[in-house]
Amino acid sequence: MSKQDVEIMADINAENDRLAEKLHQDLVKKGIFTINVIGAPGVGKTSTITRIIQGLADIPSAVVEGDIQSDIDTQALKERGIPSVQINTGGACHIDAVLMENTLAGFPLRENSLLWIENIGNLVCPAEFMIGEDVKMLICAATDGSDKPYKYPLAFEKAAVILINKADLLPHVDFDLEYFTRGIRALNAAAPIIPVSAKTGEGISEVCEWIGQRRSSR
């Protein structure tokens, strides 16, 4: 038997990325702007998204809710009249392009709308997989600790906008905004960092304005 070494140089994620690009093109054709929302569990992803959607009343929104289990978040959105569909990954730590394709096949979207994909609560792998989005929105919380950019650099590097939710609690917690911002700026010079509060509505109009600009300049 003879053996030979064959050079491959194949990107393992290439298949996912190709499908993500196809999904993105299909969404763009329908005039849909897609936001992939990333954040740790408990930072208030669903409540922040809900606030922003309410602030963008002139643009219809729909939400794909990713969770390992349960449909609590989808129910909350539906109660507010926001069309939403649940993805349960059954243990998987992120949504991938195949899962997105299967979900969108059964979820009719309006033309020229906003599609929100609330990824699984986790700052690691959701940053690595493209799923057809235009932008990644990273949501952190003032109660979380300001070392997150140093611990999860990829998520901060890839985000187009970074929100600090629960900003109404900033005076009461030890969140070091200077240290947090410094870490982000090393990784990502462009992304705006916007303190918001899903509870009080602080900062939400600034986020709405940013989305409006990105959507029209696409």
Partner: protein, 122 residues
């Protein structure tokens, strides 16, 4: 965390290479994994043995090379290995910028075995 699905992708690429080269078996593969990908080489190896069972890649030796994440110092204009929980250049303290080094996740090469006798002597 997601090594199972990714390892399935690796095995698929290996088997495709075997088919393209009409090989009998895949006996080895070299995988490159950057630190930023959060992929655990030990988990890839574990899943690999399971997924490859019963295929041409069963028993292949997987060698995984990990790549440390590097940042680039804008002042010194050199790369440095990212320290834990810091982005500071060890030489001058300036904050480094991210590079693509550390984001790798690819199959470099495979070792294939064909049915021919070695050395050309029948």
């Amino acid at each position: 965390m997601h090594e199972y699905g990714l390892t399935k992708g690796i095995v698929k690429i290996m088997l495709k290479a075997a088919d393209e080269h009409q090989a009998l078996r895949v006996t080895g593969a070299r995988l490159v994994v950057g630190e930023n990908t959060s992929i655990i080489p030990g988990s890839v190896q574990l899943y690999f043995d399971q997924i490859a069972k019963g295929t041409k890649a069963e028993g292949a030796v997987l060698s995984i090379r990990t790549v440390k994440a590097e940042m680039r110092c804008p002042l010194c204009e050199t790369n440095f290995i990212r320290p834990r929980f810091s982005f500071e250049c060890p030489a001058c303290g300036t904050l480094g910028n991210p590079t693509q080094i550390g984001n790798e996740f690819y199959l470099e090469s495979v070792e294939l075995e064909d049915g021919k006798e070695e050395g050309g002597i029948p």
